[in-house]
């Protein structure tokens, strides 16, 4: 195998593995702020128990994110030296800002968030929680800005020629607010909020099904449901606005997403399912809605959307992979929106906690948003090919010339082994934390708590009181825990 392909495989593998964790961190961070904010406001110890438990889940993900994140920073230099020289001047200020503003903020206050419960006042602890959540959003900001610059470069000029050519910044704000950065940032953050909320939904639904930590689980579900439903709905709108930008800035990528090999006169169809065949330049087994893509992109049912025939053959991205990844992401996105709508209605009516089929769906539904986040990035990055910086630097020219393929293969195999081990340990530890459940030791004597919880449950759910007794909750978790 050649060195470029190996370097790409290694980058894709390590990045996809890394990206299992940041969305959970960003999404859970937001929920932690909400939960701890509610605790400060109401002084209800149930909210404190929630904040403490979800912080433990958060911490495991954060540690994984840091450990696998350093790999990404190193890899720009180790495997993509030519790329690093090319983008260093532009990318550099974003990366420096990320390090100085975001990483220090996150990691510094994480210590207080995780270890500081008994060392600082609740107000100070809440401040630390907010700072960690903000820090994780800041890191997403700068990374998405840098990546968006690779998609839609702006605010730079090229200095030098051939292998020594590099981009130099001319306008910092034009670089930061390049044509795709803010839309993509919103999309990434909403995607992360959905993942974080689905993680909470999954674990809480599991507790409800097992009849454990019922009050804790009900309140967690309610908060997560609101966040997930709002974010899922907003994500659909965000995706739609991105399609319009894509048509203007990266027509080849849009054509790949939609399997448009040729530009037909009149309105362009929106393909729902199909199998692109680049050799035959058509989509096999296609189910499509006529004119809809034209409408979504231009607001005009009859204006054609450009196909790959308008792009030089050497600049075509591969079509089947971005096409399928994009379609799967969109399909999953609509699925969550629908699932959240159903769950929200049931929650409103007070029947959600009795609907076991729906709770089981929620337990496993978390895999959907995680997959959708990954698929979205696959579509975005493969759809940019053959460029690493769109229109300026080809992926094939961007690697480290001094690193032989054998060394990349060796490190790729090592990453495979180490990450497999890491994943196994992660699942093991997460599982242990979930089975252990929230700590209720900090709660005041059972008599008062039980009453308070029953009353709260009754007022919160309407039907909650009933199931609390029929589910045999009091002491139930203690036996199992």
């Amino acid at each position: 195998m050649d060195a470029v392909l190996l370097a790409r495989l290694q980058f894709a593998f390590t990045l996809m593995f890394h990206y299992l964790f940041p969305p959970i961190t960003i999404g859970l961070g937001l929920l932690l702020v909400v939960m701890e904010g509610l605790y400060l406001k109401t002084r209800d110890i149930q909210y404190e128990a929630m904040a403490r438990f979800w912080t433990r889940i958060f911490a495991v993900n954060f540690a994984m994110g840091v450990a696998t994140g350093i790999v990404m920073e190193f890899q720009f230099g180790t495997n993509w030296a030519t790329y690093s020289r090319f983008v260093g001047d532009v990318f550099g200020s974003a990366l420096a800002a990320e390090g100085i503003f975001a990483f220090f903020l996150e990691s510094g206050f994480l210590a207080v968030l995780v270890f500081g419960w008994d060392r600082v006042s609740p107000g100070m602890h809440f401040f630390a929680t907010v700072m960690v959540a903000l820090g994780s959003i800041f890191s997403a900001l700068w990374i998405v800005v840098a990546n968006s610059w690779q998609q839609t470069p702006a605010g730079f000029h090229i200095v030098g020629t051939g292998a020594a050519a590099r981009a130099e910044i001319t306008d910092f704000w034009a670089m930061v607010f390049n044509p795709s950065s803010m839309e993509r940032l919103v999309h990434v953050l909403l995607g992360a909020f959905i993942v974080g909320a689905f993680v909470v939904l999954s674990v809480s639904a599991f507790y409800l099904l097992r009849g454990r930590h019922l009050e804790f689980a009900r309140r967690s579900v309610t908060i997560a449901l609101v966040v997930a439903a709002a974010a899922s709905a907003a994500e659909v709108i965000s995706g739609d606005s991105q399609a319009r930008t894509l048509a203007a800035t990266q027509p080849a990528k849009l054509a790949a997403f939609e399997g448009l090999y040729t530009t037909a006169p009149g309105g362009t169809r929106l393909t729902v399912v199909g199998f692109p065949d680049t050799a035959a330049q058509r989509v096999r087994g296609e189910v499509a809605i006529p004119g809809l893509l034209s409408f979504l992109v231009y607001g005009d049912w009859n204006k054609p959307v450009a196909g790959l025939d308008r792009v030089a053959r050497a600049d075509w991205p591969p079509v089947p992979l971005p096409f399928q990844a994009y379609h799967a992401m969109v399909g999953l996105g609509f699925l969550f929106a629908a699932l959240m709508a159903v769950a929200l209605v049931k929650r409103w009516r007070g029947t959600l906690f009795q609907a076991r089929w729906l709770l089981w769906t929620l337990v496993f539904a978390v895999l959907g948003p995680i997959a959708a986040n990954q698929l979205g990035w696959v579509a975005a990055e493969v759809g940019r090919q053959p460029w690493v910086v769109y229109g300026l630097l080809r992926t094939a020219d961007a690697t480290s010339k001094s690193v032989p393929a054998g060394q990349v293969l060796a490190s790729l195999v090592m990453f495979g082994v180490i990450y497999a081990l890491l994943l196994a340990v992660y699942v093991f530890v997460l599982n242990a934390k979930i089975l252990h459940g929230p700590d209720e030791a900090a709660a005041p004597p059972a008599a008062t708590t039980g009453e308070g919880l029953l009353a709260a449950a009754g007022s919160l759910t309407g039907h909650g009181g009933e199931s609390l007794t029929s589910g045999g909750e009091p002491g139930g978790h203690a036996e199992r825990g």
Binding site: I70, A97, M131, E168, D439
Partner: protein, 338 residues
Amino acid sequence: MDLHLFWFALLGVLLTGYAILDGFDLGVGIVHLAARRDDERRVLMNAIGPLWDGNEVWLVTFGGALFAAFPRAYAAVFSAFYLPFMALLFALIFRAVSMEFRSKHDSAAWRRFWDAAFCAASTLATFLMGVAVGDSMLGIPIGPGGDYAGGVLDLLRPYALLVGVLAVATFAMHGSIYLYLKTDGELQRRIHGWMWRTFALFLAVYVVVTAVTLAALPGATRNFAELPWAWVVVVLNILAVANIPRAIHKGKPFGAFVSSACTIAALVFLFGVALFPNLIVSSSDPAWSMTIANAASSEKTLGIMRVIAFIGMPFVLAYTSVVYWVFRGKVELGTSSY
């Protein structure tokens, strides 16, 4: 101040911050197995538990700043040190994982495995960073296009390996002194012995490395002719080293810790003076060396980043101080500990 010089100096500050802060937590990992009992090893890990992650961010920021300010040097160094840096990454990952997971499962074999992994990974990471410093002192074969033109074995030269050993000895000492500050009782009494032993090891390696550097690397001291005040740092370095045993002997461990931190800072400073104005010396042809001028980003980028640094660094120092203040005092194991 000239922007190139500013960024060279700031990289020095970041590297110093990293070496002092992550130095003690790597050092704790290096001496970890000297603690015998399970509860003692837990104390050791929790002595750095809330802090190591923030400390490692100094390395991430150092890497980011090198990438941003001197992309050609970043690209050359990271691709030149491909396999050693991959090994460094694996070590850092293992270290993070071993701390996170060691105490999560109550089994002797499980804990022994992660204890060994923690020690080995901390030692390997420290050693490899030392080797990289040693190689930078020697210079590496960089071609005219800015790409590395050697092999892996060209990096494993005796002097570079020796600097790797110095790094391990230095951090072991630094970490032991830190642990003395964070522990009490029987464990602390034994750590008193670790301080002496690691100091002796450090002193021996330090003397050898200094002698070899002065004898065999004429380039390392050439800047002293133009920078006579750099001799002050040399003197301070010797005083700091000398104050470590004095402070330990007098029962002032905090003084010893400050002295070992100053020793590390002085060593990083002398490393910077030895390199300046180069970032990487090309052993193939001095004309192909990467300097703070020819490897730098544009003036505009360096200027923007200086604004970012001026805004950001006070915050970084402020909340680093806050976190160290919150977690001051002896280690207490609680429900949120490792």
